[in-house]
Amino acid sequence: MAITEENPGYKWVGTRPIRPDGLEKVTGKARFGADLALPGMLHGKVVRSPHAHAQIVSIDTSAAEAMPGVKAVITGADFPDLAANGAHAGDIDVATNTIARDKVLYEGHVVAAVAAITREQAEAAAKAVEITYEVLPHVLTVDEAMADGAPLLHDGMITKGVDPAPEDPSNIASKILHERGDLDQGFGEADSVVEREFTTKPVHQGYIEPHAAVADANSDGRANLWCSSQGHFQMRAYTATVLGVSPGNIKVTAAEIGGGFGGKTVIYLEPLAVRLSQRAGRPVKLVMDRDEVFRATGPTSGTRIKVKMGATKDGKMTAAEVWMAYEAGAYAGSPVGAAGMTAIACYDIPNFVVEGYDVVCNKPRVAAYRAPGAPMAAFAVESVVDELARNLEIDPIDIRLANAAVEGTQASYGPKFPRIGFVETLEAIKDHPNYSEELGPNQGRGVSAGFWFNAGMMSSATVHINENGTATVVTGSPDIGGSRQSMALMAAEELGIPYESIKPVVADTETVGFNDVTGGSRVTLATGAAVVDACRLVVEDLRSRAAKTWDVELDQVEWVEGQAQHIDGAQPPLSLGDLAKKSGRTGGPISANASLNSRGVGAGFSTQLCDVEVDPETGVTRVIRYLTAQDAGRAISPDYVEGQMQGGVVQGIGWALNEEYIHDSDGVMENPSFLDYRIPVASDLPMIDCSIVEVPNPAHPYGVRGVGEVGIVPPMAAVGNAINDAVDVRMTELPMSPIKVLEAITDQSD
């Protein structure tokens, strides 16, 4: 671990204790979304469109309703018409993506759902729902969707961000634009200019646990919902919107989550389960198959990106021009906005234009995926930076150091950077032994870098002191990447008691204050800050109780290592256990709440180094060595920080080499299983070496920045640049599968 700041001497923060959820997970006791079973519970099955684009002419549910065991059948007609109610366009999209009304927009779009006594009965009834479609022409890529005369998904879609606004609708939902300086002048000053065009395919977040929800509706309009998600408060809000009810009528309990990576920040099954339960008068469980997960959830955008960059012979970048089109899937909302803001954010470039388009097409609506939008843009930009370095015969780290954003740099998306640690990640790679490790035949080395904003948002926490002086830390942030351990470590540091004396709990929506989603790399920062605030309130209370006990002024008492101490030593110390045991005498139970809208978000940077070996006979690329350096601000839990860093890299390697959605000419996905959509497994990869860089975020009590996302930004270009180094071919299309690499090698030698 590269420590760039003097270690402040924390007792618990930065240690590697046993994870609090470990025992339940390894013994199978942890309850995930599909594990819950309630008395009288029914099983649901969703009916999905077989067509990529079609008008729903009619739906006949009578045969399904008459089948054995069937207790409820619902269609879009069972939900309020939000459009007629004047709802926000975004809410209407959420509702019609949950269950189609008059039109299906992708293969897998929900049309109806059934609930029956057994899963087999539900599956049989789902097949008996008779739907008549009028099939419409479809568009699957940005090229098809942006073409003149392309079939339209939404008749009223007028491109936003264009002045004057177009008169005619199109599949382009919006345009984004960032520019600075004089592009012609910048390219004129360059000694080398590289221009390339890149394409990437939609890829799925690939979480191991499929979506699952159990709903139990009461006759008074209230409902209980258990689901696997990245934010049960968000699930509550979305579900209430789609059902047209008050959020307060729905209580959501967070199940354990088997991966999300952004893909579980949105709803799919939850309103369907509640409505089925209301219709049937019994609890209903809905669980997706893997096939449904691929066809109807996630993925992230496929893209087309053009990049032109120039630099002087000493490596100074003079200009960048980036054009990008991102698939949004069936509804507006691709991450092209973030892509435009991150594409060249690592660098201080005086002249640039970044232009982007959000494009709808007949595929599942895209969902967030780690640093949404940034990885594809980085694949393109970092590949071109590598080529510039090669043309100019400059070390790939040195060209990045020569242009690296630092504190005070005007970011390409607008504001000046506060304190950041990009340079430190570059130096950590350059100083690592991997950087000078000798390479063998057909082996190559690639460097790439990435930026992500990280996020703050709203969080709440409650800290209870138990009667023996142990503590319960309650938050509403589902634990995806180790947040329970991070919360416990910070609470231990604040309260001055052992980590093992603290139980971190993720509570339901009626037990703790509001928390935004576990996403945006925000929980350790924001929910952590709420935990720190609550602990500090508890400590103030404890000092006050000690002062009462000793009959002294508050300023005579300090809190040191879990004890109230009189500043002159005039009284024997009172431990947390002493004060807790006698809390009834000093004011009652000891507890504090804190809620905040987090401030002081610290941006994240990652630089990565990949060594590959390419088989020139088959085009197979094997990653033989990988190093990632990332600025964590402060690694509260180094084990989990490394886990996040490694996880991002592994997903990025899958994106680089294997993963892609494949559709046939009818718009039907051809590879909706982990057999045909191959994510990397442990045996495919070397150990991912980690270098945690710590440039503390000055705005957080422990210097946290957030680590969950930026790690997935650099890998595709790192792999592509390594392939180029190994066999001298520039790969511009993801995935860089064996057939494409072999084709590139063959083309080069022809």
Partner: protein, 81 residues
């Protein structure tokens, strides 16, 4: 006065102006001032932007205080994963 910077995408609403000095002690007041100067921009800024004040990014920033001489950027909203 705070200095407000506009992204290229917002400049269509400012007649191409890239930055402007505005009086206002909160983001809400600044947006109101801007709407006076560039009619229609207020709705766009309120609905679709997060705000960076002296480099720090805020969401739901309407009531956020803005210091004298602060640098303010309105940004596209982005989602984390």
């Amino acid at each position: 006065m705070a200095r407000v910077h506009f992204s290229a995408g917002l400049r269509e609403l400012t007649g191409g102006q890239a930055e402007v000095d505005v009086e206002g002690s909160t983001v809400r007041r600044i947006v109101a001032e801007l709407d006076e100067m560039f009619p229609g921009i207020g709705e766009r800024l309120s609905e679709a932007s997060s705000v960076a004040i002296d480099g720090e990014i805020f969401t739901d920033a309407e009531l956020e205080p803005v210091e004298e001489n602060a640098e303010v950027h309105f940004l596209d909203i982005f989602q984390g994963g």
